[in-house]
Point group: C2
Chain length 115, copies 2
Amino acid sequence: MAMIELSLTDVTACCAPLTREPLEADNADALARSLKALADPARLRLISMVAAHEGAEACVCDLTEPLGLSQPTVSHHLKVLVDAGILTREKRGTWAYYSLVPGALDSLAGLLRTV
Amino acid sequence: MAMIELSLTDVTACCAPLTREPLEADNADALARSLKALADPARLRLISMVAAHEGAEACVCDLTEPLGLSQPTVSHHLKVLVDAGILTREKRGTWAYYSLVPGALDSLAGLLRTV
DNA sequence: AGCACATATCGATGAGCGTCAATGTATGGC
DNA sequence: GCCATACATTGACGCTCATCGATATGTGCT
């Protein structure tokens, strides 16, 4: 079934920063979904490892061992981040290369900013 | 038992933005805890309602009815936000007034920024 | 003292999630 | 065609968490 995949673009397009005006229930849901995708130590480390990797992209095989989690678990976390619009996946041959979606994290940061 | 209450100040004091260098496991844990506190629709709405309320503070009685959740649930969410260092609680008479901790959200936003 | 009100805490319940082992699906090389 | 490698999916287990009703704590008023 098609799950919500555009929560990030949805919410970052529509909303004023959190502290400007009361958040509607729907927008709160969308923003919470995006933040939930971020709110896991393994996923935070994955993001920073991908960003710091050469070429700003990395395949699962680059990430599994340094993270210390099983390959299925890493794949699961990467899928969550892709579905949240934070990472992209590009398959080249046998490998799947993940990289940051430009501006995705900055959009979220903008929603939290109060100044 | 004393739970971790300073995760926010901890992590925002120590770390470069997520995408500058690979995140250590401990820092990832601390940042994830802060984001988890934020990653709930009810808590996001509470934050924005408090910020938008007159005087930039609000008591539980101001928040329960518009949120549509029971009073114990609202109290619970507010406690989570206070423990995470995002809100402060000030008791005046019968009422408990909650307000934003200045700079807390901005520190988190700064960690997500990539530019 | 006694009552009404505001808020916090407790205990229980149900849903969601992180993790893994096992299995499935491609892709490339021999 | 066959095997090895890279990754995704499935199913299950345990733990965390959001929510509520019930109850406790505290404050002000009469």
